[in-house]
């Protein structure tokens, strides 16, 4: 098992390298250049500024040299300096936003799992019932509604008309002067709408997977056998069937690891949440190469890691795979 994991990790390195080469190339193929933010907007900026800017960041060198420079810094864990006027280290810009995105996506994921798995299981157990049909409609409505639209409506209703919840942002202006309990409520109330809206949109996927996988398992012979030997229905469903049907969800979780750090631009824009989605979008729009590369590197590393984790957990959960490999 350990050897297997080690081999997989070793194989990740050339893959990562390939990903960075492709993304680096694609980025430079896109029209536009990072100096445009400064020069296009201002007639008083001459070609001389462009030259100075390019020299400052080494953009005047050939692409392979630029890539090699970037790579040699990355292996020393230095992602470089952003091209944007703030000139901050890319690492700082990412780590300042990462906790916010992780928190939101983390809570969102927990809410989705906590809701979707029971919904899926119950729908499968009571297949064709009114509950099943209502649930199906409900989760697909959530899946189909544009989240920005739902968010705006809820904001208008709960934030403006009723005034119960804050509208956007992560903190009230008077946050520092609130009591400890007030601070907790302030945090929670700001997160409530974003988490609910994002969870509503994510219910369909997991609950459908869960339902499908549960249905499959329930049809198996060993479930019939369990019923035949007189086990109570609850035990049949929630112990024997559920454990086996959760397998595909576990695999899915592996793919969710990279998604945890990726934010949605639209969503973050609506709720004025300074997360990863906005950072990535802005850096693409302004051709901020170091930030783009940094986020892509992080994302692809996590994707590879996620795949690995999925495979490994799969092996851990499913004895057939575990014993088959060793």
């Amino acid at each position: 098992m350990l050897a297997y994991v080690a081999k997989r990790i070793a194989f990740m390195i050339p893959m990562l390298l390939g990903i960075t080469i492709i993304s680096f190339g694609l980025m430079h193929l896109a029209p536009g250049s990072p100096t445009e933010l400064y020069t296009e907007m201002n007639p008083k900026v001459g070609a001389e500024f462009k030259a100075r800017f390019e020299a400052y960041y080494g953009l005047d060198k050939p692409l392979p040299v630029q890539y090699a420079t970037w790579l040699s810094k990355v292996v020393r864990l230095d992602l470089g300096i952003s091209f944007s006027p703030d000139k901050r280290p890319v690492w700082d810009k990412i780590t300042e936003r990462l906790p916010i995105t992780l928190l939101l996506n983390g809570i969102g994921l927990v809410v989705i799992l906590a809701t979707a798995i029971p919904l899926g299981v119950l729908s499968a157990v009571r297949r064709g019932s009114r509950f099943d049909r209502v649930t199906t409609v409900f989760v697909f409505v959530g899946f189909s509604i544009p989240s920005f639209w739902l968010a705006l409506l809820l904001m208008k209703w709960l934030g403006v008309d009723l005034g119960w919840l804050p509208i956007s942002g992560l903190q009230s202006l008077d946050y520092p002067s609130l009591s400890p309990l007030g601070k907790v409520w302030d945090r929670v109330s700001h997160l409530l709408l974003p988490v609910l809206v994002s969870a509503f949109g994510g219910l369909a996927g997991i609950s459908r997977y869960m339902r499908g996988s549960m249905l499959e398992v329930i049809r198996q012979d060993y479930i019939t056998a369990a019923r035949a030997k007189g086990l109570p229905e609850g035990k049949v469903v929630y112990v024997h069937a559920l454990r086996n049907s959760v397998l595909p969800i576990v695999t899915l979780m592996g793919f969710w690891i990279p998604a945890l750090i990726g934010g949605s631009v639209i969503f973050e824009t609506i709720f004025a949440i300074p997360g990863m989605g906005q950072l990535f979008y802005q850096s693409v729009m302004s051709r901020d190469y170091p930030v783009i590369q940094g986020i892509l590197l992080l994302g692809s590393a996590l994707t590879l890691l996620g795949n690995l984790v999925a495979d490994v957990t799969y092996a851990l959960v499913d004895p057939r795979i575990r014993f088959g490999r060793s």
């Binding site: 445009e36 008083k44 070609a47 500024f49 400052y56 006027p85 403006v160 004025a272």
Partner: protein, 567 residues
């Protein structure tokens, strides 16, 4: 592309900005106030409420984008300038009437040959860290701006300067090689603290995120993507002559980042922000509720921007001036103002804003007249010989494509209206909408377009050498349509060397006349800036420059204050 509020009031940046959008809520003429929606006069309030100026309260501003860099000369985005404008001062600034007045400079003299400006600085001005400001700080600001290592986009402002001498702590002498009319206002650039920057790399200075200036507000905190907080500078040099109180009045300034305009509007309705630039539809349809009029006053004034239809003059189709005049005659500008801006704007006739000193109202206009347009085109040889509804000449039909940028709904609507009107006179127009970077780099700069709909911001100083002089053809310059006229070249060069305003006005009046005769652009419209401000804010004096120019005099009477003083 809409950037939020543009307020170069204090930084004195005179950049002509390729207006990516029209949300520029800056300075202007003909400002009207609409207190509490439709009501006239001040909002009713109990007579016993004391409305005299008072300290305290917080002003919550909103922006769709975060600032990038709070050293003004290192950034070009309007959020950065909106915040740093409150933290820094220049030597001079514009007042509400677009006059250049002293800021850090108490007075100045211009030599008879217009080559030397001597500034006399205010005494007793301190940076927010307590260190006194002297002429050496100004000289440093000049030096660091010109330093080849500094990544500033504003070097051009100081390029014509020959030398800067510190005469004594409070006197600075600037010498030019030749007279340069925009010279004086270029010293509106923010003065930086020498003691914190000299000998360090300004590009990575900690002042980028923690600015120290002399302005009415000092920096408190910046939470990336969420807000920037400033607090009143109790040591500010200016006092209100009416009350004898030290300015500014408002205790705190919070700059909230709310990227979506719909959400910003929700925040406004909920009373959580104190100022917002409105869209025409919001102005006319969504701000009539009692709840809104109880909380806000609305201000309307012409924005510092205009939208135009520019013709590629290298293109055979547009070489003939009669054709360009015909096209302008065929377009109903009033209809565009009604349809696109819901009447909240004015037809444009030239590159300056109606109501400003430089604007020439007596240029030839081209009223909507399709018959006259057809006649002019016929004169130029364009007739519909094959009866397909499209004019042709020598076998070539009159077809062209209008390009515009993605994300600007007003420009797209304008293009559609123009398309319909030109179809009516037998000109076939196609519309192509392009992403901004590709639009500018692949089409506008290399001259690969027939016609385009785009906007310019109108700078406070009327020098337009960079846009209209024949030496400024794109791709290197900003003369995208390749307009060349020897008389215009001469007028532009002379006008930027002339300090006398009456003489300058005369030169620019002729310049506008020629542009109007030649119609290298069909100047379309100047939109109105539409701003809602909480009505607890007092001291707003609408002026040609808009409302924000005297922000440090805005106050909230004690009885109306909303936010408690923070310890």
């Amino acid at each position: 592309m809409d950037r939020s509020r543009t307020d170069f009031r204090r930084s004195g940046r005179l950049a002509l900005v390729l207006a990516g959008g029209l949300a520029a809520v800056a300075a202007v003429a003909g400002c009207s106030r609409e207190p509490g929606g439709e009501r006239a006069g001040p909002p009713p309030a109990p007579a016993q409420v004391d409305r005299s100026p008072a300290y305290g309260d917080t002003f919550v501003d909103a922006s769709i984008g975060d600032a990038s860099n709070l050293i003004p000369m290192l950034s070009t985005d309007s959020p950065s300038h909106a915040v740093s404008g409150l933290v820094y001062n220049g030597l001079v600034k514009y007042d509400g009437q677009y006059n250049v007045v002293g800021d850090l400079a108490e007075s100045w003299e211009v030599s008879d040959d217009n080559l030397v400006i001597t500034f006399h600085l205010r005494k007793g001005v301190r940076f927010h860290d307590g260190v006194p400001l002297t002429a050496r700080d100004v000289a440093y600001t000049y030096r660091v701006t010109m330093d080849p290592g500094t990544l500033t986009a504003y070097r051009g402002d100081f390029e014509p300067v020959k030398s800067v001498e510190v005469v004594d702590d409070y006197t600075l002498r600037v010498t030019y090689d030749e007279p340069f009319a925009p010279a004086l206002v270029s010293w509106g650039a923010a003065v930086l603290p020498r003691h914190l920057l000299e000998g360090k790399d300004i590009n990575t200075s900690e002042l980028i995120r923690n600015p120290v200036g002399t302005g009415p507000y000092r920096f408190v905190e910046w939470t990336t993507g969420q807000r920037i907080v400033l607090e009143r500078n109790p040591d500010y040099f200016e006092t209100d002559p009416n009350t004898g109180m030290r300015l500014p009045y408002l205790g705190r300034y919070v700059f909230r980042i709310i990227p979506d305009l719909g959400v910003q509007f929700n925040e406004l309705l909920a009373g959580k922000i104190d100022r917002m630039g409105l869209k025409p539809l919001q102005w006319t349809r969504q701000t009539q509720t009692d709840r809104f009029t109880r909380q806000y006053d609305k201000y309307q004034y012409l924005a510092n921007a205009y939208t135009y239809l520019g013709y590629n003059l290298e293109n055979e189709l547009f070489r003939d001036v009669r054709v360009r005049r015909a096209l302008t005659h065929a377009i109903d500008k009033g209809e565009i103002v009604e349809g696109v801006l819901l009447g909240l704007g004015e037809p444009a006739t030239g590159p300056y804003k109606p109501g400003t000193w430089v604007y020439n109202p007596d240029v030839p206009r081209y009223p909507y007249d399709p018959d006259r347009a057809r006649a002019l085109l016929a004169e130029a040889g364009w007739r519909d010989t094959d009866g397909d509804g499209v004019l042709d000449r020598a076998g070539r039909p009159f077809r062209f494509t209008i390009l515009t940028n993605q994300g600007n709904d007003q420009r797209l609507k304008t293009a559609e209206i123009v398309q319909q009107r030109l179809k009516a006179i037998g000109v076939a127009v196609e519309i192509r909408v392009l992403e901004w970077a590709a639009f500018i780099n692949e089409f506008v700069k290399p001259g690969k377009f027939d016609a385009l709909i785009l906007g310019w911001t109108i700078s406070q100083d009327p020098d337009l050498y960079d846009v209209w002089h024949s030496s400024k053809f794109s791709p290197a310059g900003l003369n995208h349509t390749h307009y060349a006229n020897p008389e215009v070249d001469d007028l532009l060069v002379r006008a930027r060397k002339t300090f006398d305003r009456a003489e300058r006005k005369r030169l620019y009046a002729r310049f506008q006349e020629i542009l109007a005769e030649e119609q290298p652009y069909t100047f379309l419209y100047v939109p109105s800036a539409l701003v809602a401000v909480s009505n607890r804010i007092h001291g707003i004096v609408p002026a040609p420059a808009g409302i924000s120019y005297n922000f440090e005099r805005w106050y909230v009477p004690k009885a109306l204050q909303k936010y408690a003083e923070t310890p």
